[in-house]
């Protein structure tokens, strides 16, 4: 009875939200209070203790590591760590567990024997993965915002160096013999405007703490975990293959995303991109990868499709040898090597195999469960429910919708394909409603969106409900699958995505001298020649308020021949340093280019009177926003 009442209340609340988010009601909806925080466990990664007896679960939502009995799922210990932990790993001797806390920029060092936190060390910007070298001397940390791998002294946490990795460096995997460390990244490396994206697997020699190679991944944007076989002869990386240069009009032909693996190593002799999708079904967001000890099977989690793909390695290698590349676009290929698709929980992410390869543990982030698969039977034999809220809140349902690909035609992709981990993807897309080849648009960051309406670069959508509702269904998903409640939950989730800490602004808000000088330029009303700057040509006029937008549209001279109109929405400035490239179509590769290349007539603010160092100051200030 109580559950029924609760459900009715939730439905009523959701309906109210939908009703409130109509055009013209934006201000009202912005005043809605934030729903009470639900501390879901949100398991992101899993590890097995060296003896296989304990399952370590990285609970991102609860800021905890939970230690479970691997056989029964019983909780043995709960260890609090920093905020939003994203990765963890054992020291080679198993005595220490390292956890990276992505919003604290710290590493938590845990004594596995006592379960106590022994130290908390500073790391780079948004640490996302951590691995210790074999001798136990150096600790490698991938920094997503830093775009590098920071090398720390494994005894003291002192920083030794930083190695340049790919943009959005996020996941690290050590080879079984400890001789090579592989780093992937979730945002593509910079390429010329409207050219295919490129990514890389950065190869590090951990003995030298040097990058010794970069395996180039053409056409790829969004690379997640790498797995390596025990003999070191086979490597597999899970990745996204976006098709953003063609109009997003042919979902049915697979022309939006491919979900693929890059397979490399001596068994292959080169790196080969291998498709995971099928002709009429897609397996979105490949994230975690594991290879069985005997190398016979490869397991891939699909965060958007709520399943695990099982690949017969021999058949896959035989297919690779028998077929000339490229065949990443051949959706009939996977039938030759995919053995099974095993349904698991919502948004499956990290996975780990037992030492004998008989059991596979999968962390289902958005329903707080661990699926235990029998690899002999390819089925879930046990589901471990983690402690957390019993009910699924509207916010949580919205997040589930955000990560689910099932709403798109044939399960092609979900919101989080383009908004990786609810952020952005660094790509520009040709959305069909504006016309083929028209209005190429750069993807924008989804954080703290309240008060930044309207949406779309042309300012055409007054609310998220419009942006994510009929428009998305019609033009993105090619299906009409959102019911009102689903949409209300999704909108709720997006509206409550928090703003991550700004890494360029001091904790106390104090500005450096350069940032202070830049702030003065941002707010100036008179140019260096003593001439008044018209109100509409001042930085602080359009980019006003705490979020850096007056929510109006202007023609600042950045329109291109491909645009239907040069009048563009004023984008918000929060965390603007993260989201290169810039301008509505992503044509400016850096903040500098907005003014050095694309503002020849001072229409996008009065800037041509500035010296180079003054422009640098302005940019230093913008990076604090």
């Amino acid at each position: 009875m109580r559950r029924r009442v609760t459900m009715v209340a939730v439905v009523a609340a959701a309906l109210c939200l939908v009703l409130l988010w109509q055009p013209g009601m934006v201000r009202v909806s912005a005043q809605l209070s934030t729903p009470p925080e639900e501390r879901y466990a949100s398991p992101l990664e899993v590890l097995l203790s060296p003896d296989g007896a304990r399952l370590y679960v990285l609970c991102q939502g609860a800021d905890e590591v939970r230690v479970l009995d691997a056989a029964t799922g019983r909780v043995l210990r709960t260890i609090s760590v920093g905020h939003l932990p994203r990765g963890f790993s054992f020291s080679p001797d198993g005595a220490r567990l390292f956890v990276v806390n992505s919003w604290d920029d710290t590493v938590t060092v845990i004594d596995t024997q006592s379960g106590r936190v022994k130290a908390t060390w500073a790391a780079g910007f948004e640490p996302s993965s951590v691995v210790e070298d074999r001798p136990g001397k150096l600790l490698y940390v991938a920094d997503r915002i830093g775009n590098n791998v920071t090398v720390l002294d494994a005894a003291t946490g002192e920083e030794k160096t930083t190695l340049a990795a790919g943009r959005g460096a996020s996941y690290l995997t050590m080879s079984a013999d400890g001789s090579r460390l592989y780093a992937t990244h979730v945002y593509p490396n910079a390429t010329p405007h409207r050219t295919p994206p490129k990514s890389e697997i950065t190869i590090i020699d951990p003995a030298q703490a040097r990058v010794v190679g970069r395996m180039m991944l053409p056409d790829i944007a969004g690379v997640f975990h790498v797995a390596l076989s025990r003999d070191g002869r086979l490597g597999v990386a899970a990745e996204l293959h976006p098709k953003n240069l063609v109009p997003m009009a042919h979902v049915e032909h697979g022309w939006v995303f491919g979900n693929t693996l890059t397979v490399f190593g001596a068994d292959v002799g080169r790196s080969v991109e291998v498709p995971l999708d099928e002709l009429d079904r897609y397996y979105a967001l490949p994230f975690g990868v594991a290879i069985t000890p005997d190398k016979s099977r490869i397991y891939v989690t699909h965060g958007g499709s709520d399943c695990v793909t099982v690949i017969d390695t021999k058949k896959m290698l035989a297919y690779i040898r028998a077929h000339p590349e490229p065949f990443a676009e051949d959706l009939s290929a996977s039938a030759n090597y995919v053995e099974a698709r095993v349904a698991v929980g919502k948004n499956p992410r990290g996975l780990v195999l037992s030492r004998d390869g008989g059991r596979l543990f999968v962390a289902n982030r958005l329903d707080d469960t661990i699926s235990v698969l029998s690899t002999r039977e390819n089925r879930v034999t046990q589901t471990i429910k983690l402690v957390g809220p019993d009910k699924v809140s509207p916010l949580r349902r919205g997040e589930q919708t955000f990560y689910a690909a099932k709403y798109a035609f044939q399960g092609h992709f979900g919101c989080s394909n383009c908004h990786i981990d609810s952020t952005f993807d660094g790509l520009q897309w040709d959305l069909e409603p504006d016309g083929f080849g028209k209005d190429i648009v750069d993807n924008r960051l989804l954080e703290d969106l309240r008060g930044t309406e309207p949406f779309k670069w042309n300012g055409g959508n007054p609310s998220i409900a419009i942006e994510c509702g009929p428009r998305t269904e019609m033009y993105f998903w090619r299906s009409q699958t959102f019911d009102d409640l689903t949409l209300a939950d999704l909108v709720l989730y997006i509206r409550h995505l928090p703003l991550r800490p700004n890494r360029w602004r001091a904790a106390d808000g104090a500005l450096t001298p350069a940032q202070e000088r830049g702030r003065a330029i941002f707010h100036r009303t008179v140019d260096k020649l003593g001439q008044p700057i018209p109100e509409g040509n001042r930085c602080a006029y359009c980019h006003s308020g705490p979020k850096g937008t007056n929510q109006k549209s202007f023609d600042v001279g950045t329109g291109k021949w491909t645009d239907n109109s040069g009048v563009l929405d004023t984008p918000q400035l929060m965390n603007v340093a993260l989201t290169a490239p810039y301008l509505h179509d992503g044509s400016a590769k850096s903040l500098e280019e907005i003014w050095t290349v694309y503002n020849p007539h001072d229409r996008h603010g009065r800037t041509n009177d500035l010296t180079k160092d003054e422009l640098n100051d302005l940019i230093e200030y913008l990076r604090t926003r």
Binding site: T162, A164, E200, V211, R214, E593, T596, D613, N616, I619
Partner: protein, 372 residues
């Protein structure tokens, strides 16, 4: 008298070498022994192997050279070449290099990344990936990058419009020019950075020093002003037109087009052709080894100063034949017979590989293999 001495020594050495060759002994060692016996200072000897387009270099005009272990990088007028395992590989603008003409090189010893200053921006070469920074796409002060130096997480850059610093952790660019330093001119030719101090050779504006701890700038000028007249030789920097700087062991070595200088923090000491072994006052580059020793790249050959004596290595100015001369503390010059010399007299870059030396010249890259 000096000529007679040389001839006499050569006769003796030639005879000794002949005897040594007949007896199977090492001829170079014998030369050393003879030179020592005659009181000629022992200076390093090299067998030079030269690289040009004929054996793999992308261009003979080599502006800069950098050694990283077994790898040698050459900044040429037509790309950045790396010599590894006996083969040359060239990076060009097609690979992302900012410009084909690579004027300067620096190694980040912590990461192994190579920073290349070019005529069109600054490039970082990291395990084959090249990221380029220009005055348009970054905070770089100017695209013409004459010099680069890496210190910790900072990359210091000398450009045609001031100097700048990139903090590789934060991505922040800091610019240094006439507006915030005592830089009269902004044509910065070279930079040498260390944790305590950073020195800039500013063409026409002497030597600038930035104390990193205090943030205080100091400026060193030619006390005689911008002319070639030297009234008091060791009273300060030898000339305003500085071209190269090398800060090592708390001592700064400075090259100019009108002689070279050494400053130990208290006293200046200057070098001119008329009273030192410097083959030319027109010095393109300089590398200090320690407080006493340094190498000089001039328009008339490569020179080495061991704190007392000088050695010059070059193709002879008249005949073009390989030449090595040694000048002792008394000014006595002795010709040492050699069979090889750097590829050209116009020396633009110097680096070291153990006891070997690599020399960038206007007509090829030279590997001086140390001869014990």
């Amino acid at each position: 008298m000096r000529r007679m001495t040389c001839i006499a020594i050569l006769v003796v050495i030639a005879g000794t070498v002949g005897v040594a060759a007949q007896s199977g002994a090492h001829p170079v060692r014998k030369v050393h022994a003879v030179a020592q016996a005659l009181g000629v200072p022992t200076m390093p000897r090299f067998r030079f192997e030269n690289f040009t387009t004929a054996n793999g270099l992308p261009d003979n005009h080599v502006f800069s050279v950098l050694v990283d272990g077994d790898r040698v990088w050459a900044g040429t007028e037509n790309g950045l070449a790396v010599y590894e395992g006996g083969n040359w590989k060239t990076y060009t603008t097609a690979d992302g290099l900012a410009h084909r003409a690579v004027l300067s090189l620096a190694l980040d010893k912590r990461t192994g990344d190579v920073w290349a200053g070019t005529m069109g921006g600054l490039s970082r070469v990291s395990a084959g990936r090249i990221d380029s920074y220009t005055q348009l796409n970054s905070g770089l002060s100017n695209d013409v990058v004459y010099g680069v130096s890496v210190e910790g997480e900072n990359v210091w850059v000398a450009t045609a419009a001031g100097a700048c610093r990139l903090n590789t952790r934060t991505g922040e660019w800091s610019l240094y020019n006439e507006r915030n330093t005592p830089m009269n001119e902004i044509w910065v030719y070279a930079v040498s950075a260390a944790a305590d101090k950073v020195y800039f050779a500013v063409w026409g504006s002497g030597l600038l020093e930035l104390n990193q701890k205090t943030g205080v700038w100091d400026k060193w000028d030619d006390p005689d002003g911008e002319n070639e007249m030297v009234l008091l030789k060791d009273q300060g920097l030898i000339h305003e037109i500085t071209t190269s700087v090398s800060y090592v062991d708390g001592v700064v070595w400075v090259a100019t087009y009108f002689g070279d200088s050494h400053y130990d923090g208290r006293y200046w000491h200057n070098f001119l052709t008329k009273d030192s072994g410097l083959p030319s006052n027109f010095t393109n580059t300089m590398r200090g080894i320690d407080r006493k020793r340094a190498w000089f790249g001039t328009d008339k050959g490569l020179a080495y100063f061991d704190g007392t004596n000088w050695a010059v290595y070059r193709p002879a100015l008249d005949t073009g034949k390989p030449e090595m001369t040694v000048r002792d503390a008394r000014g006595q010059v002795t010709a040492i017979p050699v069979e090889t010399a750097p590829a050209h007299n116009y020396v633009l870059g110097i680096d070291f590989q153990g006891r070997d030396i690599w020399v960038a010249t206007a007509k090829g890259l030279s590997h001086g293999i140390y001869q014990p």
